[in-house]
């Protein structure tokens, strides 16, 4: 009886929260552990090949070469120069044929020189089928410079070349192969302010570019 009374009146014991010792919670994590491939104070030389496939009248294969100086893990500055040649699409060829007799006053990309900043806030690791861990970063780039384009309609009375100031936002990723080399994937959108001689008019033109490249890195400082 006594034991029953004690059992009915005694306060139940609250279970205490588990106290984990020696384990870090997810919310405690703010950095990637074991950054195998630091970027600070390193120089990156990169080359890419790309395609500008989004224009209705011209498809432009191109190549870019660049250099990037990484001040920190997130910020770097550099320059990139490239060249290419806009090829007429089937739509353009159909339009200029005798059946239609219409020629868009289009301009083909020839070359560009840009300089600017890259901001890489993301450094990450990915497990590929559990067999391999890839280290990669994601960056945003803001560049400015000049592009040179050529009119498809000749105009030697004036000039068929257009020198266009260019703003170039970009987003890309670098996947580390090893400590001194990475694969680059970048989507870049060059925004040109272009003066067209025959119509004496100024237009905003976009050269959206998809690039795949390879980088070589200088040695990391110990």
């Amino acid at each position: 009886m006594h034991l029953l009374f004690i059992g009915l009146t005694s306060v139940g014991a609250y279970a205490q929260d588990n106290v984990t010792i020696g384990v870090v919670d997810n919310d405690d994590l703010h950095v990637v552990q074991k950054i195998l491939y630091p970027k600070t104070s390193r120089t990156e030389l990169h080359g890419s090949v790309g395609l500008m496939p989004f224009d209705a009248y011209l498809t432009t294969p191109n190549a870019q070469l660049g250099i990037q100086f990484h001040n920190s893990e997130t910020l770097s500055f550099g320059a990139v120069a490239g060249g290419g040649y806009g090829l007429k699409t089937k739509v353009y060829r159909d339009l200029e044929s005798p059946g239609f007799g219409v020629v868009p006053y289009a301009f083909r990309y020839l070359t560009s020189v840009l300089g600017g900043v890259e901001w890489a806030p993301i450094y990450a690791k990915a497990s590929v089928s559990g067999a391999q861990v890839l280290h990669y970063d994601v960056y945003l780039a803001g560049r400015a410079g000049v592009s040179v384009e050529q009119s498809l309609i000749p105009n030697t009375a004036g000039s068929d070349l257009a020198l266009a100031p260019t703003l170039s936002p970009a987003i890309g990723t670098r996947v580390w192969v090893n400590d001194t080399s990475t694969l680059r994937f970048e989507f870049r959108d060059d925004v040109l302010i272009e003066r067209r001689a025959i119509t004496a008019s100024t237009h905003v033109k976009q050269n959206a570019n998809v690039l795949v490249g390879y980088s070589i890195w200088s040695a990391a400082k110990k």
């Binding site: 009248y57 339009l95 005798p98 219409v102 020629v103 006053y105 309609i153 119509t199 905003v204």
Partner: protein, 502 residues
């Protein structure tokens, strides 16, 4: 705003601004594919009593002329050798690739009013030379004799007494071939005995420009209202299409009409005042047809500079007298000349109100009466305006003999062979956007000056835009070679060349 939303919004802005915009130009020209090689030849023959010799000469020589255009032979096309031979032939014999039609009317408006006197013949027709010559001789040539007022011929069948030769050796057969020269016997055979004599003799007023206009009015499916203006025309709506034969039309779409006026006198067309040299009335009417035209006139002597010192020198010798056109030294057209009434109204020497007899002087090798040289200037101006050719029907002074017709027809053939100097455009261009490329080399725009005599533009080498037929015209050495690749880029005025399928 979260980072995610910001990124999404930025992407949308980029996508919305992603469609590059381009002006759409028209491009004309191409490599022979859209250039028309269609030529409609309209002979306009003066069938007055003074033109019998010239009509006979035309018939005698027409065979050779039309043969150069009537190449019936199919070009072989088997392999590189044939292709090379074809190209060489086409360069050497440009007439052989012309798609031509030929017909004839007369300058006699009161009787013919621009009606065709021959069949409307085309390349490929059977015996085209024979049929044209027979129609010319039987329906359009004045063979007069002593019964025709003003005729200088003697009785028929007497050798040497008429403009028509006598050939006793000719034997008439059914549908005889033209023997190479006209004879009384041949005419009896093809036209009917006596039916050719004193027939087809037109009035003494040669209205070449009006005849061309009436012929066009009769041919066009929707002619301008001026064709039925009762103050000048006898045509009515029932005459529309009367110069066409079946589905064959005299005025074909995108063809070049070449009126070839043959006359030993000037033009006295009824829509112009006698003495008036300006032909704007007719050029404005022709513009309404929107037809490419190039006038050829085989007409009276037009050698204005007979003393060889230039047209605007201070003295000009004609006959046995000397006339100074610039007696005050102020220049020919200073408006102050009153000698011989040259500019009594002060409106300029060549305005319509000036004394017609004062400018230009008599032409000694022509049948044109003194003081009526303005009638020749009309033809001259029309050939210049349309970039055709003026060929004097006689040799130059002092000989003044008849010009060999083979020479005339050679010049005509040469002109026809050089037709590829104008490319019509499909839309009205913004002229400051025109770019012309020939064989991948840009051609510059031609400079122009004004001819003092006719007031017409004279161009340097290059191209110019001709608004009358909305065409790019090449000048001088800029005329493209046969088979050249011609590209003409321009922004159309309406801003959008056509509705695109997307």
């Amino acid at each position: 705003m979260t980072l995610k939303r910001t990124a999404l919004l930025s992407l949308c802005v980029l996508l919305l601004a992603g469609c590059n915009r381009y002006d759409l130009f028209r491009v004309g020209g191409f490599k022979q594919e859209s250039f028309s090689n269609k030529v409609d030849l309209l002979f306009v023959l003066d069938n007055s009593t003074s033109m019998t010799d010239e009509s006979i000469a035309l018939a005698n020589n027409f065979d050779d002329f039309i043969s150069s255009l009537a190449d019936q032979q199919e070009l072989p096309s088997d392999g590189v050798t044939d292709a090379t031979a074809n190209y060489i032939q086409s360069v050497r014999e440009r007439g052989s690739v012309l798609n031509y039609q030929v017909a004839l009317t007369t300058t006699d408006i009161p009787n013919d009013f621009g009606a065709l006197k021959t069949e409307l013949l085309a390349r490929g027709d059977n015996k085209i030379e024979q049929r044209f010559i027979d129609d010319l001789l039987c329906n359009a040539t004045c063979f007069c004799d002593e019964n025709t007022p003003g005729c200088l011929c003697g009785p028929k069948d007497e050798p040497g007494t008429c403009d028509v030769p006598y050939d006793a050796t000719f034997t008439c057969t059914n549908n005889p071939e033209f023997p190479g020269s006209v004879s009384q016997q041949y005419l009896d055979c093809v036209c009917g005995e006596t039916k050719w004599q004193n027939a087809n003799c037109g009035s003494g007023a040669e209205e070449g420009l009006e005849a061309v206009l009436m012929a066009m009015c009769r041919s066009h499916p929707n002619p301008p209202s001026v064709c039925f203006d009762k103050s000048h025309s006898q045509l009515d709506k029932s005459d529309i299409g009367s110069n066409n034969e079946g589905d064959r039309e005299l005025l074909r779409e995108s063809s070049l009409l070449v009126p070839i006026i043959l006359s030993d006198e000037g033009d006295v067309s009824r829509r112009l005042v006698n003495g008036q040299v300006s032909i704007d009335t007719y050029t404005e009417i022709f513009d309404q047809f929107r037809q490419r035209m190039a006038f050829v006139v085989v007409g009276p002597d037009n050698d204005w500079d007979q003393d060889g010192l230039g047209y605007f020198d201070e003295t000009y010798v004609y006959g046995t007298s000397t006339t100074s056109r610039d007696s005050d030294g102020g220049g020919e057209y200073d408006g102050t000349e009153v000698e011989n009434g040259r500019d009594p109204t002060g409106g300029g020497d060549d305005d319509a109100s000036a004394n017609p007899g004062s400018k230009p002087p008599r032409l000694p090798c022509s049948e044109v009466p003194d003081g009526a040289a303005w009638s020749v200037v009309r033809y001259e101006t029309m050939t210049e305006v349309t970039r055709g050719r003026y060929i004097p029907i006689t040799e130059a002074a002092p000989g003044c003999g008849p010009r060999r017709f083979t020479e005339i027809l050679d010049q005509l053939g040469e002109m026809l062979a050089n037709l590829a100097d104008a490319f019509p455009l499909q839309s009205i261009p913004q002229t400051d956007t025109i770019t012309v490329i020939v064989d991948d080399v840009e051609v510059t725009e031609a400079g122009s000056t004004t001819d003092d005599l006719t007031g017409q533009s004279v161009f340097t080498d290059g191209w110019s835009y001709r608004s009358t037929d909305n065409a790019i015209v090449f000048h001088g050495t800029a005329v493209p070679e046969f088979n050249a690749k011609v590209e003409i880029y321009y922004l159309p005025q309406e801003g959008k060349p056509r509705d695109l399928p997307f």
